[in-house]
């Protein structure tokens, strides 16, 4: 709760700083505020919190873990934003404010204990993101991204709400505990509208996390939005979506696994294949990352399909690994784009010679994406697959492994471009902030890959 208050107040303070033209103070104050919020969140660890505000919010260990990872990732995104927004417009403070508002919505999404809170949190996040996707107002691609994201987001909200309404109609409550009790009390004879509501909620949530067949907005939006916002969307927002998904299903719908499991199973397999196979054909690095984020959504859905005691841990580790690798990839992309002006694979040619550190960091990130051992991505995939194997979905794991192998091809395309192709480019200057972010991500990726016991036993 205190985390949420700190972040909301921080957003308003930053808005005022913009009013008083204190531009230099924006970044330090935002980061300091987020560090404070992070500390407050971690202090709630293992405090055995009960649902507060008449069962609206429950800041349990699940919420602490996922809000911490979201806050840390946001701090990394903020550190990359030095001098980024200034190039776009004069209204820098508003952008920081909107990101912070989105983050406060995300905190609500990972700690909700009532469907009304899920709805409000999701909408705070979405509305802020519609705006952020369109902040390059003169840029056609950014406009397209904002409009498409907005229309699709509003459309999916409709489905989610219809689902919530039907579930309310059956169980007479929005409270997760009451709904869970409703399901437990009726081993047979649950109202059919409850099932319809459940399916509609799956549709709405799959739209929001960008799982196939509801993924079609993702590539265009991720490509069109400013790179920094894309970094935020594909890491923090995606993690929050999955946290909300998992929380809902593990608390409320776990006893109905036989009903929703086949649906989600189809969605998962479709997501994996669509994401990986289309990513193979991309020439634009940013678009490739968009499709790869779809396929990673598939891997994370895996853990929800095999819902069990280990699911939370699996998604947490996968999300952490995915977030740091994505941040690295987008940071390098921003530097390369600032240099060459485009985002294609050829722009990465010869990066290893001109800038070994950048190339090394990106290589590790790509290896982690592909799930090569000794990186965090491997541990993440290992735990996700393990959760599925524990439920005897052997052939499902086989499909996922095939997909992981497909993934290796397009991730290695970048590495090959950097190390084995020549190009007479000058050295790219890396600002200190970028070096810091890349270094931190690199260390996290390797440390998690080599000593995973840090976070494997959290839950």
């Amino acid at each position: 709760m205190s985390t949420l208050i700190v972040i909301s107040i921080l957003a308003i303070v930053v808005l005022y700083l913009g009013l008083f033209k204190a531009k230099q103070a924006l970044l330090p104050i935002s980061v300091l505020g987020l560090v404070a919020a992070l500390a407050l969140a971690i202090m709630e660890w293992n405090s055995n919190a009960a649902p507060i505000f008449s069962g609206m919010m429950h800041f349990d260990n699940f919420a602490v873990a996922f809000s911490s990872i979201c806050i840390i990732t946001t701090i990394l995104v903020f550190l990359l934003s030095k001098n980024y927004f200034e190039k776009i417009s004069d209204n820098v403070a508003e952008y920081y404010t909107l990101i912070l508002f989105a983050l406060s919505g995300i905190i609500v999404m990972v700690s909700y204990h009532n469907l009304s809170m899920l709805f409000v949190g999701l909408e705070i996040m979405s509305v802020s993101l519609y705006i952020l996707a369109g902040i390059k107002r003169k840029d056609f691609a950014s406009n397209e991204a904002a409009l498409k994201y907005f229309l699709m987001g509003a459309f999916s909200t409709g489905f989610l709400l219809f689902g919530i309404a039907l579930i309310y109609g059956a169980s007479k409550s929005f409270d997760l505990a009451v709904i869970a009790q409703y399901v437990i009390d009726r081993p047979t004879g649950i109202d059919p509208i409850f099932y319809v509501g459940l399916v509609l909620m799956i549709v709405g949530l799959c739209f929001k996390v960008g799982a196939a067949p509801f993924h079609f907005w993702t590539p265009d939006v991720y490509e069109g939005a400013p790179t920094l916002i894309t970094a935020f969307m594909s890491t923090v927002v995606k993690i929050a979506g999955f946290a909300a998904f998992l929380r809902l299903f593990s608390i409320c719908f776990a006893p109905l696994q036989d009903f929703w499991m086949p649906t989600l199973l189809v969605i998962t397999i479709l997501t994996l294949f669509v994401g990986n196979i289309t990513a193979l054909y991309q020439t634009n690095f940013k678009r490739m990352l968009a499709f790869s984020s779809i396929s990673h959504a598939g891997y994370m859905l895996f853990a929800i399909v095999a819902l069990g005691a280990a699911s939370t841990n699996a998604i947490f580790i996968y999300a952490a690994a995915y977030a740091v690798s994505s941040i690295t990839a987008f940071a390098v992309l921003m530097l390369v784009k600032a240099k060459t002006g485009s985002e294609n694979f050829e722009d990465f040619n010869g990066l290893a010679k001109s800038n070994p550190f950048l190339a090394f960091a990106l290589t590790v990130a790509m290896l982690s994406f592909a799930g090569i051992p000794l990186t965090a991505g491997f541990i993440g995939k290992f735990f996700v697959f393990n959760a599925a194997l524990a439920q005897y979905h052997t052939w499902l794991v086989a499909i996922a492994v095939v997909n992981a192998i497909i993934g290796v091809f397009y991730y290695f395309k970048v590495i090959v471009a950097m190390y084995f192709k020549d190009n007479q480019t000058k050295q790219i200057a890396t600002p200190a902030y970028f070096n810091f972010v890349l270094g931190v991500s690199l260390i996290i990726t390797l440390v998690l890959g080599i000593y995973p016991s840090f976070i494997t036993n959290l839950f």
Partner: protein, 109 residues
């Protein structure tokens, strides 16, 4: 008052669910077949209103006020979304002089 109460008792809840489902579906069809961004947006408003009606009906029939409170939140969201959505549409229109979504499509939906 008595009159109103007896009116509700005569209409089965199923008919409200049916009505909401029909309106919701009309909204979905509108999103799928129209190309004008503003009309797509209005179809989304239809979907939200179908949800509002459904929640109000459930709430009245079960005698639980929380459903109607939820409708407030949906209305707050609708107001916020309209503001942001129309701002985005105005911004797009300034750049392209069109709000046909197909102009914006370099790729398929």
């Amino acid at each position: 008052m008595e009159n109103i109460t007896s009116t509700i008792q005569a209409v089965p809840l199923n008919h409200y669910i049916l009505l909401s489902a029909i309106i919701f579906t009309i909204g979905v069809i509108g999103v799928l077949v129209r190309r004008n961004a503003i009309i797509i947006f209005m179809s989304v408003e239809l979907m939200l209103n179908a949800v509002n009606l459904l929640l109000a009906a459930f709430s009245s029939y079960s005698g639980d006020a929380s459903g109607q409170v939820f409708v407030f939140f949906i209305m707050a969201l609708a107001a916020a979304e309209v503001a942001v959505g129309l701002a985005i549409i105005v911004m797009v229109y300034r750049n392209t002089s069109s709000i046909d979504i197909n102009i914006l499509n370099r790729l398929k939906w």
